[in-house]
Amino acid sequence: MSDKNSFEPRIVAFFCNWCTYTAADLAGTARMSYAPNVRVVRIMCSGRLDPQFVLAAFREGADGVLVGGCHPGDCHYQEGNYKALRRVTLLKRLLKSFGIEEERFRLEWIAASEGDKVQRVINEMTETVRKLGPLHLEKPDITASHETVKVAGVSAGGTR
């Protein structure tokens, strides 16, 4: 229905404070242009990415979710990014079963110095999601929902 070319995907990005978040900052200050479709959420480590955040993002209207963490071996907390990799691997399969295409969810290792990589990844992802079109999760009409409240309580970096 909606014209795919005029569709501007909304992408939620969870970026590790120590690497990708800094890189995105760098890209911003260096005026490397990347698609304005991304809302960045800073997390302390990709290992702090709770799969609940990802589901919540999709539910609240994201068409894609991007996760950025430190390169293997570079995580400030040693193991965090490996944990993220394991979770993301399984989460991808789960999302597929939910009817959410794999391409809408992406994990990338991006070092603090790699402003250009942030730019490239964001642009790529925006195009991929644009091609997929909007994610239609028609919300079942739920009148009294306790979980909205609870999710709000799960703040970024909160539970593991």
Partner: protein, 328 residues
């Protein structure tokens, strides 16, 4: 002094939540003596008309089991809500959607197709499918329409308390009834069971390593299961670490992994996502290909992690026509 009035009601349920009340055994006689049961379709005479006539708020507590999947069920629970001081969502179906909630992997059309079109035992060449309205000679017969999406009780009415489990263990039921009778209730919205993980209470917890690292997963029929050792440490998908305790670890005592019927503890919004997170992070590898291979042994992530809670998940259901539970 008149005894407090209590109602039991069922929606899309299996009846196990009624049986578990019978499993109170002789304690049920005490319950019956202490309260005035105004509605309990399975064991006592049904009195819907009487309930309708009762003033709003005159039932002390209604225990409602089963998921909600039709307007008729919705109307009934709405009525009970009005008549009741407290509403307790009884069992995983009411609390989280339960196993019938797996219906949210599909839509109604697909469901009818499987049952009335592709099923192998139908009369050859069957073309009939039940419809909501059938003209027969001199009359019309009607059937209620089923909702596409199965819902939890608190997605349609306000719920005061939850009794978890599939079905809830009799001792928790007895405790809940006592708490209600004595007025010693926790804050509204609470789940009436200990707010700790099953592992803490499990007879095998001593054999559970502090940090579990798994280089593979097994399905229960693939291995001889050690009757004493932590099941997760044996590579079985035991969900005790993310599941609320209170059942007495009955499945583990049956030498089978916990599948999570008691639902999450209070810190978790989405049980399945939490379970996935906990299990995935235990994979003992840092190599992408190896991680993928190990996790591929989990044959059905959605059906496993959301066995009892798909309707309560953040996404509520699977989307898009043709979604078929993870298979191409």
């Amino acid at each position: 002094m008149s005894k407090p009035k209590v109602a039991f009601y069922w929606c899309a349920s299996c009846g196990g939540c009624e049986e578990t009340v019978v499993d109170l055994n002789e304690a049920i006689l005490n319950v019956v003596a202490a309260v005035d049961i105004v509605l309990w379709p399975v064991a006592l005479d049904f009195k819907r008309s009487d309930v309708e006539k009762m003033p709003d708020g005159s039932i002390a507590v209604s225990f409602i089991n089963g998921a909600i999947r039709s307007s008729e069920q919705f109307e009934m629970v709405e009525m009970l809500r009005k008549k009741s001081g407290l509403v307790v969502a009884f069992g995983s179906c009411a609390q989280l959607g339960g196993i019938p909630g797996l219906g949210n992997l599909f839509d109604r059309r697909g469901l009818l197709e499987t049952v009335y079109k592709t099923c192998p035992s139908l009369t050859n060449g069957n073309t009939t499918t039940p419809v909501t309205s059938t003209k027969v000679e001199k009359g019309t017969l009607s059937l209620p329409e089923l909702w596409d999406t199965v819902k939890t009780l608190d997605q349609v009415i306000k719920v005061d308390y939850y009794l978890p489990g599939c079905p809830p263990p009799p001792n928790l039921i007895a405790d809940a009834v006592n708490a209600i009778l004595s007025g010693k209730l926790p804050p509204s919205g609470s789940v009436l069971a200990p707010d700790m993980a099953l592992c803490e209470d499990c007879p095998r917890r001593d054999s559970k390593p502090d940090k579990i690292q798994l280089s593979g997963f097994h399905r229960p029929h693939e291995i001889i299961i050690d009757p004493d050792k932590c099941l997760l440490a044996q590579g079985l998908l035991c969900l005790g670490s993310v599941t609320r305790q209170g059942c007495g670890s009955v499945c583990v005592n049956g030498n089978m992994p916990c599948t999570g019927c008691m639902g999450p503890t209070s810190h978790v919004a989405d049980y399945g996502a939490k379970a996935l997170s906990a299990i995935a992070s235990m994979v003992d590898s840092n190599d992408e290909a190896e991680i993928t291979a190990i996790l591929d042994k989990i044959a059905d992530p959605l059906g496993t992690f959301y066995r009892y809670s798909l309707p309560a998940s953040l996404l509520h259901r699977a989307y898009a026509a043709g979604t078929n539970g993870g298979k191409k």
